[in-house]
């Protein structure tokens, strides 16, 4: 296990997260067909076992001749960017069953990117917040730091706090070096100033990617009996018949999503709506492959792993 002292439940979560992340990363790399690291540097770092999907041109034929093993050569490169993953740890993210829980899904999604970044020796920083920043880890590229990041994402044990993206303001101001900021949140923050930190980051040249994670139930509001709906962040309950209000609710939700998307795109950030029943590997792959001109202002940076 990791060096970070973990309790049994958290250890189990971390293990599960890493297993899931490994699968995702493996799938992502297999799906990309072409190694993004080809020709990145000339400084040899290490050999790794060949895995399907690796570029055959990276095979170390000499090592094969000596050891009769297929290994690939990896070279160290300069890292100018760092990856910042920000996880929404508010109570509203604790919705959904099992792997479709929004918090778990979001953590897995972010961990996948973290793993990918770590694979190419990028520094990774992590932050969990609700109505304030709960935990934050600075950008590092060591293995131990990776474990700490993974542990932080796996824990996601936060109180019943409201979503408040404005809490990211101070953290955003502290990001002086441009990098990639990936945010996973349900964006159920209806404050007009909620997106301002992300907008400012994007305007300062950061590659801001926002994954709005929602469940299918939130999107469709199923059910046909009068129901007392209760929020997770202390909102007063609402009694309604889903059959009667479904269409209006969908319209309201779509309007909210569109509003968020509009603002992010205007700021040059990327917005993706993710439903928790979608396979994460597809989400990550699609995010990497479709990463072209991010936002309406176009991509200002392209990480090497993208």
């Amino acid at each position: 296990m990791e060096r970070t002292p973990l309790d049994a439940e958290l250890a189990e979560r971390v293990t599960a997260l890493r297993l899931e992340t490994a699968k995702v990363v493996e799938g992502v790399l297999s799906g990309l067909h072409r190694s993004p690291r080809r020709g990145a540097s000339v400084v040899f770092v290490e050999h790794r076992d060949y895995r399907p999907g690796d570029d055959p041109r990276l095979l170390d034929w000499r090592a094969f001749a000596r050891n009769d093993r297929h290994v690939t050569k990896h070279f160290e490169q300069e890292t100018a960017l760092s990856l910042h993953v920000w996880l929404d740890g508010s109570s509203s993210m604790r919705f959904g069953e099992g792997p479709e829980e929004k918090a778990r899904y979001a953590a897995t999604l972010l961990a996948s990117f973290v793993q990918l970044a770590h694979e190419q020796r990028d520094a990774v920083a992590a932050l969990v917040c609700d109505d304030e920043v709960r935990e934050a880890l600075p950008a590092r590229s060591s293995q131990a730091h990776l474990s700490a990041v993974m542990t932080l994402l796996a824990s996601r044990t936060l109180g019943r706090r409201r979503t408040s993206l404005s809490a990211l303001g101070p953290a955003a101001e502290r990001l002086t070096r441009r990098g990639v900021v990936i945010v996973a949140s349900d964006l159920l923050d209806f404050d007009e100033r909620a997106l301002e930190p992300l907008e400012r980051l994007a305007e300062r040249g950061h590659d801001v990617r926002v994954f709005q994670v929602l469940t299918r139930e939130e999107l469709e509001l199923p059910g046909d009996a009068p129901t007392r709906f209760e929020g997770l962040e202390g909102e007063p309950p609402v009694e309604a018949d889903p059959a009667q209000v479904r269409e209006a609710y969908r319209a309201e939700l779509e309007a909210h999503i569109a509003r968020m998307r509009e603002r992010l795109l205007d700021a040059g950030a990327e917005h993706r709506l993710v439903v928790t029943d979608e396979p994460i590997v597809e989400v990550v792959t699609r995010s990497l492959l479709e990463r072209g001109p991010a936002g309406r202002r176009g991509a200002r940076m392209r990480p090497r792993w993208a």
């Binding site: 159920l188 139930e217 009068p226 129901t227 209000v245 909210h256």
Partner: protein, 697 residues
């Protein structure tokens, strides 16, 4: 329909509970977590009205369930009027009074008879399964119109055809008849129900017998009872004016107090027309004072066109029963009895009886007398019978009564003539003379109602004691002082006769007058002259002669006086008559075939004039020689109830009750069904809650 515990309906107020619960939507509302509840709130706030009532069908189900429970607790029941007891099977005879008094109309316009018939129908409807029912009508004479049967349609049909007739009331007789109807009933419960207005005088308790329960149901007890009715109306030829008639009308006022007077009118009545007569022409009207509850009016009139009947009507009576306010009076001259008095040759032994009959003839035109000689049984008729001197080959032709006044035919021809006359239906009165010997009447003994002996000298008597006593058949004697009791008898013919045929007897018990009314034969022990007694000089001689003639006279084909229903004489018809048609006052034609030369009229009940037609030798002819008028009985004018003492103590509705059929079980079943529906509903909801999107916080 009713409720055993109406206060339990207050439980229906609990219907407010599900209504409130559904309005506030707190009970049974599924709880779910939705992070985007803030968005949903915006929608709900906009659409609060539609979300006001939740699950309306479930609310309706629960409201109905609460109401069903409240109704079930209240114990609803259906009420069924049960005529008798608990509706178990019984043998029942319904005695329905169809006498004239039942025609009285109550304030609602319905007659008491209609009420009785409706009550009878209700009783029949409410009888238990397997019950037997019979219908007996209590108008005299009592009749069984529906024999005891489990088929109620028979009784119902009989009720449909029953109607009020001009009959007397014979409730006791009807009860006795009903009791006999129940004699063979196989059911243990036997009951007689009497539906009557009890407007008849009877001090005797209602008859009853063991095993039969009697129920008297007085009807129309609330009145009104004031009534005027025609007791009698007789027409006679007015001797002062040719073609004119006079009608004496007697009216009874059965009201308290009686009106001071009554107006009586005579109206024309066309043949075949019933009462009230349409297009009637008033011929006479008179107002008569009512004294002591009675009024007597005499109306003189000349009928136009020689009509044979008129209608007598009481005007402006406004009484309870119009049934007895009109009456038909036939304008028929009474049929005279034709008497032939036979005297010995050269002696006028029949002079007293002949003069008496002549006096009766001039007084009432009811007797036509003639005198003939015994030897030839032929003489010149006198009086109105034969105004001309034309020879009559048969002196007995057309005669009704033959009087042998001390004259006994000695020739075989004379005896044969007498025997033939008597056997042909003629009446015979034989009177001896002081010289009559025992053998003289031997030839006629077969025709006499008594065995005859010799003429004896009357024994001396005490002047202080009556010489004559009224016999068992003394009803034939005139009422009032007649002087017959002190009659002086010098000699008499010894007679031996049954006691019930003796009209007069001597103080010693020897029969003086024997009358066989069935065969219309009579024999007198003393003569009709003054040889054997002073009978001709007694005041009672004339009425006695009239009574004898009427008793011995050949009956007419039709009664010459009105009769009441149930008491009509048989209609004697000739042998050649094969069919008799009776046209009722309402125009209905009743066809009767004679039985042994007679047609029964007992079933006639509608008051009014009946026209008779007889078919003989293929020809139908109208019988016009007498009137056939049916009138209501005078006893039925008094409508005030006089129920028997034991019947008066009975509550008319005592046996009637209400059967309650509880229907709460239907509401309990409905309640269970509703509960099952809600259970099913909840099960479906539970299944739905297992859907992945449902999770309670």
């Amino acid at each position: 329909m009713g409720l055993s515990a109406p206060l339990a309906l207050a439980a229906a107020l609990f219907v407010a509970l599900p209504v409130i619960a559904h309005l506030v939507r707190r009970a049974d509302v599924e709880r779910r977590v939705l992070p985007s509840v803030a968005l949903l709130r915006r929608v709900v706030v906009r659409d609060r009205r539609r979300a006001r009532v939740t699950e309306p069908w479930l609310l309706a189900l629960r409201v109905v369930a609460v109401l069903a429970a409240a109704l079930a607790l209240a114990g609803p029941f259906l009420v069924e009027r049960v005529a008798y007891g608990d509706g178990s099977a019984l043998s029942l005879v319904i005695v329905l009074d169809d006498s004239a008094s039942m025609a009285r109309r109550e304030s609602g316009g319905e007659s008491v008879f209609d009420e009785a018939r409706d009550r009878a129908r209700a009783i029949i409807r409410s009888l238990g399964e397997g019950s037997e029912v019979a219908i007996v009508l209590a108008g005299a004479p009592p009749r069984v119109v529906a024999p005891r049967s489990t088929d109620r349609a028979i009784a119902s049909t009989a009720l449909d055809h029953a109607r009020v007739g001009a009959r007397r009331t014979d409730v006791p007789g009807a009860i006795a008849l009903a009791t006999r109807q129940l004699a063979g009933a196989h059911l243990a419960a036997r009951r007689v129900v009497v539906l009557s207005d009890f407007a008849f005088e009877s001090d005797a308790p209602l008859p009853s017998s063991g095993g039969v329960e009697l129920e008297a149901v007085p009807l129309g007890a609330s009145g009104p009872f004031d009534n005027l009715g025609i007791v009698d109306a007789r027409a006679s030829v007015d001797p002062l004016e040719r073609g004119a008639w006079s009608v004496v009308v007697e009216v009874q006022a059965a009201s308290d107090p009686a009106p001071p007077s009554v107006t009586v009118a005579i109206e024309t009545l066309a043949p075949g027309a019933g009462l009230p007569a349409p297009d009637a022409l008033e011929l006479a009207r008179v107002s008569a004072p009512i004294e002591g509850g009675r009024a007597r009016a005499t109306l003189r009139f000349t009928p136009p066109g020689g009509g044979d009947r008129v209608a007598v009507r009481l005007l402006d009576t406004r009484d309870a029963s119009p049934f007895d306010d009109e009456r038909v009076v036939a304008l028929e001259e009474p049929r005279a009895s034709r008497v032939v008095v036979v005297e010995p040759a050269g002696r006028h032994t029949g002079r007293f009886i002949a003069r008496a009959l002549a006096a009766l003839s001039s007084a009432s035109s009811s007797v036509l007398a003639s005198t003939i000689d015994v030897d030839g049984l032929s003489s010149v008729p006198s009086g109105r019978l034969a105004p001309s001197d034309a020879p009559q080959p048969d002196p007995l032709a057309g005669a009704d009564v033959l009087v042998l006044a001390s004259a006994v035919p000695s020739s075989g021809l004379g005896l044969e003539a007498v025997r033939g006359f008597v056997e042909g239906g003629g009446g015979l009165l034989v009177a001896p003379s002081a010289t009559t010997r025992a053998g003289d009447l031997a030839a006629l003994e077969a025709l006499l109602p008594a065995r005859v002996g010799a003429v004896e000298v009357a024994p001396p008597r005490d002047p202080a004691e009556p010489s004559v006593r009224r016999g068992a058949a003394g009803a034939l004697l005139p009422s009032g002082p007649t002087g017959l009791e002190t009659m002086a008898i010098r000699s008499l013919l010894r007679l031996e006769a049954p006691d019930d045929e003796v009209v007069l007897s001597s103080a010693a018990g020897s029969p003086l007058l024997v009358v066989d009314r069935e065969h219309r034969r009579a024999v007198l022990a003393i003569g009709l002259d003054d040889e054997m007694s002073d009978l001709p000089f007694r005041p009672g001689f004339l009425p006695l002669a009239a009574s004898l003639v009427h008793a011995l006279a050949r009956p007419g084909i039709l009664p010459d006086r009105p009769f009441i229903a149930g008491e009509a004489p048989s209609l004697a018809v000739d042998e050649g008559v094969t069919l008799v048609e009776l046209v009722t006052p309402s125009g209905e034609v009743l066809r009767r075939r004679p039985d042994h030369g007679a047609v029964s009229l007992d079933d006639l009940a509608d008051p009014g004039a009946y026209t008779l037609r007889a078919e003989a030798n293929g020809q139908l002819r109208v019988l016009t020689d007498a009137a056939l008028v049916l009138v209501p009985p005078a006893e039925e004018i008094d409508l005030r109830p006089h129920p028997p003492a034991d019947a008066a103590t009975r509550d008319p509705d005592a046996r009637e009750g209400e059967a309650h059929h509880a229907i709460a079980r239907w509401f309990f079943l409905a309640l269970g069904l509703l509960a099952a529906l809600e259970g099913f509903w909840r099960h479906q909801a539970w299944l739905a809650r297992r859907a992945p999107w449902r999770r309670v916080a």
